[in-house]
């Protein structure tokens, strides 16, 4: 063990004494720090803004005057996506999804004002976040400082000298890997510090903080082992460097970009316009509440009359228009859900195709682990949309029930022609204030962790493969004529 530590100490001394490597390390450490700082500030700002906007929307809703309930259905409400706990670590898809939805009757609107749409093309280079630094930039820096660690010694002859001093190849490789690993940890410290801080300040769950840390440590450990093993295997540091930069470009840059192309071809998505048209078409085929002869609504009318034991709509104890609104909303909503499920089904199929590429790139795996635990993945977005839709449906149906019970049928029928009837059709503003607020529930910790596990396992398998490769390279070092 002390022999391994001697190698590590010597290697670190070498890093510190060679100015180029030290400069690189310091610069990337500063970059990590800047990323953690700006990302955290941005997310805090967003969280504040969204909370303010949601609050303002709640107030606007509650501050409505006495109104006809159907007016309120169209006045609608806004659901704003709250910021998630670890978004400062990994903003994930945040920039590519809208964060605000207008909720109204008979329509399902899209989430608007995604950041990517309103940003310059620079965002397509990748957003500066601790996740980007750890996933993309740190491995490349490690390649630069680690490619020559053993191959360079081979070129200079000190490798043979060290082996002849009696150290085993495995111990030498372990010492070097430890040194590179320590350098990796040193430059990632600001990111891990941010993780800890997010955990300690209560914004994030400890399970997510712990597993995210584990994921990134495994990812960086994989790169460390790969780099050292390649350096031990290569004859020259130049070929080690070229090979490793190639591996980096392939696994970190290329595969994640090619993955969506493959996914889009395998599971295409419809456009929103097509979905809208399809929903309208299906609605028309289901029934038209405007048409007195429509079979669906004629049947509904019969059913309702029977339920209340009367023969004429006028004799109903409730406002039939309100009942119609409830039934209509039920129909449209089931269609919205069906089409949304289809679209998300296709997106998740795409996601599975992209995730499968973790087989050729550990970066795909760490991205999945990181986004899932940060709750900034597609699943978290879908959850927001579904909760917003559930809230919308509940709100609209509450208002429709009010129309059925609190507005008389006679006033409702006469309101567009008679000002007095219109005034009577308005119900008290107290009702709006009594409506529940949009309060999206976070998924349970077990659920989040459960979805991160497969990618985490993939990552650990990559680490194991790296360890096997390194062990073999260390063993070969003993035999090699150096």
């Amino acid at each position: 063990m002390s022999v391994i530590l001697s190698v590590t100490r010597n290697e670190l001394r070498h890093l510190v004494r060679s100015r180029v490597a030290l400069t690189g390390l310091i610069l990337v450490a500063l970059l990590t720090f800047a990323a953690a700082l700006t990302s955290n500030a941005y997310q805090a700002d967003q969280a504040g803004l969204r909370e303010r906007l949601q609050h303002a929307a709640d107030q606007d809703f509650a501050a409505q005057p006495n109104r006809h309930p159907h007016r309120v259905v169209h006045f609608g409400h806004f659901a704003i996506r709250p910021a998630s706990g670890l978004a400062a670590m990994d903003p994930g898809v945040e920039a590519y999804t809208g964060n605000m939805i207008f909720l109204e009757g008979h329509r399902q609107n899209s989430a608007n004002f995604g950041d990517a749409r309103q940003s310059s093309l620079l965002v397509r280079f990748g957003q500066l976040s601790p996740a980007l630094v750890l996933q993309v930039i740190v491995p490349l820096l490690l390649v630069f400082i680690g490619a020559g660690m053993i191959a360079g010694e081979r070129e200079r002859g000190t490798l043979r000298q060290s082996l002849l001093a009696g150290i085993s190849g495995g111990a030498l490789l372990s010492g070097k890997a430890l040194a590179l690993g320590l350098a990796a940890l040193a430059i990632s410290t600001p990111a891990f510090g941010l993780l800890l801080w997010l955990g300690a300040s209560g914004g994030a769950r400890l399970s997510a903080v712990g597993l995210t840390t584990l994921g990134y440590v495994a990812y960086l450990a994989f790169w460390t082992l790969l780099i050292i093993a390649v350096s031990a295997t290569a004859n020259r540091s130049r070929s080690a460097l070229i090979g490793l930069v190639g591996a980096w470009a392939f696994m970190v840059v290329l595969v994640p970009r090619v993955a969506p192309e493959a996914a889009a071809a395998l599971a295409p998505l419809p456009t929103r316009v097509e979905t809208d048209i399809a929903v309208q078409r299906d609605l028309r085929s289901m029934g038209d509440s405007h048409n007195p002869n429509d079979p669906y609504f004629a049947a509904f009318k019969q059913k309702t009359l029977k339920q209340y034991g009367v023969t004429r709509v006028e004799d109903l104890p409730v406002n039939y228009r309100g009942l119609l609104a409830i039934e209509g909303e039920k129909l449209t909503s089931s269609l919205f859900d069906r089409y949304a499920d289809q679209a998300f089904g296709a997106m998740e199929a795409q996601g599975r195709v992209m995730d499968a590429l973790a087989v050729v790139s550990p970066t795909v795996a760490i991205r999945r682990v990181s986004m899932t635990l940060a709750e900034t993945d597609l699943f978290a977005y879908r959850r927001f949309l579904e909760q917003a839709e559930a809230y919308r449906y509940d709100l609209v149906q509450r208002l429709n029930r009010l129309q059925a019970t609190a507005v008389t049928a006679a006033d409702d029928a006469a309101k567009s022609k008679n000002a007095a009837a219109e005034a009577r059709s308005r119900i008290s503003a107290d009702h709006w204030q009594a409506m529940p607020h949009f309060d999206p529930k976070r998924p349970s910790a077990a659920d989040v962790v459960g979805r991160a596990v497969p990618a985490l396992v993939a990552l650990l398998l990559w680490l194991a493969a790296g360890a096997v490769f390194a062990a073999r390279a260390g063993h070969r070092l003993n035999r090699s004529a150096a």
């Binding site: 906007l53 993955a259 316009v273 097509e274």
Partner: protein
């Protein structure tokens, strides 16, 4: 010429160099095909929507023409707009995968309709597209570094440099020929697949020329940078490391930091506020005297002032009038928002003047009309079309004219104008300027070392 042929033959004998050029060729070919597939997918979607939209309008027509109420027609009829991909979009998909290229609008308040998002998989958009622009901006420099970092130092390390330079008349001619041949190889690896793509997409000739100019300028920058680094006369390994660090800084770090800086310097909160303002303004109309909304409307539309006064009963013209008033109230925010998006783009362009990778990226997207400015232009076209819709429906509404089956056919139609794209003169100038600057610094430093 002989020297060039000799060096070309020499280069073709180097396995690693040939492999690098074949790899770049293959990557470009895949990227161009992926771009063509994506453009075809978008064109197919636009084509698919035509008949679907027609049958949707037909269904509305059937229902509305029974009562002939122009209000119902204006309220229930959606009008389709589309933004077909340009003839160069295959090379730079840009924002087309995060913003809609088809949108339907009604004559109601536009601000509530204009920012509708598209059904997209955000996880697929996150890493960015694999298109020609990506290969050029990110990958091509790596190949330049691979082929140029040891142009001279490799010969020195192999101990051949002196003998080699002694055996030719003028060493500069030798290095010139080697450099030209390698640059030509890389250029062809990028240009040949692009030509095929441009032919398939029917790209305008001037755009093909402009793309080639951008490719040349960007390659020239990296080659000059390689030469400057190599002049410091260190080992091949040190050259490679320095150049790769430059690559990481120029293509990853500077744009990422630039993005953060620009977005925090120009915050765009108007977006979310816009939605709430417009909604509140529209719905306030139900709670104030109708005349108040109508007066506000007549101030901007005096031509309808003398139409029949509103009665007690609901009238569609009041409904559309307060929607228009809502749009006008949100107008300032809307203009600020639009301005903000354009300003962010303008600042990224300024960053491009000193960062060739950014400039190249922006230049290609400008040519392909797939940048935020093009997205705003599409919104402007929708805005203009929406104005036409209002002007079409208002006479029916305000003059109480019945809206029959024939009137549906008279509705204005959106004419999709493929975005033209424009010469990215400033951006191209930026790349050339930076190349000259780097070359100049290298020249001055080289002289100081020599003297």
């Amino acid at each position: 010429m002989n020297a060039l042929l000799r060096e070309a033959r020499f280069l073709l004998g180097l396995k690693s160099a040939v492999a690098a050029m074949v790899a770049l060729f293959a990557l470009t070919a895949v990227a161009v095909s992926a771009g063509l597939v994506e453009v075809a997918r978008q064109e197919a979607a636009i084509a698919r929507i035509g008949p679907q939209q027609a049958s949707d309008v037909a269904a509305v027509t059937d229902w509305v023409s029974q009562g002939k109420d122009p209000g119902n027609a204006a309220y229930y009829t959606f009008h389709a707009t589309s933004d077909p991909p340009s003839d160069l979009a295959f090379a730079a998909i840009g924002t087309r995968d995060v913003s809609p290229y088809v949108l339907r609008v009604r004559a109601l308040g536009l601000e509530a309709q204009l920012y509708e998002g598209e059904i997209g998989n955000p996880e697929a958009a996150l890493p960015g597209r694999f298109d020609f622009a990506f290969v050029l901006v990110y990958l091509a420099p790596l190949f330049v570094i691979l082929l140029f970092h040891d142009l001279r130092s490799g010969e020195r390390e192999a101990g051949r440099l002196r003998a080699l330079e002694a055996s030719v008349g003028a060493p500069s001619a030798l290095w010139g020929a080697r450099l030209t041949v390698r640059a030509l190889g890389l250029f062809l690896a990028l240009a040949l697949p692009f030509f095929v793509g441009a032919f398939v997409a029917g790209t305008a000739l001037w755009k093909v020329g402009a793309v080639l100019a951008v490719v040349l300028a960007y390659l020239a920058f990296w080659i000059v940078l390689c030469m400057v680094v190599a002049r410091a006369a260190r080992s091949s390994l040190a050259n490679a490391m320095t150049l790769a660090a430059a690559w990481m800084t120029l293509t990853l770090i500077v744009p990422a930091i630039g993005h953060v800086a620009i977005n925090s310097a120009i915050p765009l909160r108007q977006g979310m506020e816009l939605g709430q303002t417009q909604r509140t303004a529209v719905h306030r109309a139900w709670d104030i005297p109708k005349s108040e909304s109508m007066d506000a409307f007549f101030r901007t539309h005096p031509q309808w002032r003398n139409t029949a006064p509103l009665g007690e009963a609901f009238h569609w013209k009041w409904y559309f009038a307060f929607h228009q008033v809502g749009d006008e109230l949100a107008g300032d925010l809307s203009r600020q928002y639009r301005q903000g998006v354009l300003e962010r783009a303008a600042w990224s362009e300024r960053l491009g003047l000193v960062t060739p990778g950014v400039a190249t990226q922006l230049a290609l997207h400008r040519l392909a009309a797939t940048d935020p400015a093009a997205q705003i232009a599409y919104q402007d076209r929708i805005r203009a079309f929406h104005g036409e819709l209002r002007r079409f429906y208002y006479p029916y509404l305000f003059e109480d004219r019945p809206f029959g089956r024939a009137d549906f056919a008279r509705a204005p139609e959106y004419r999709a104008a493929p975005a033209a794209g424009s010469w990215p003169v400033a951006l191209l100038g930026g790349v050339v300027l930076m190349t000259a600057l780097v070359g100049g610094i290298g020249f001055v430093r080289g002289r100081r070392v020599a003297s």
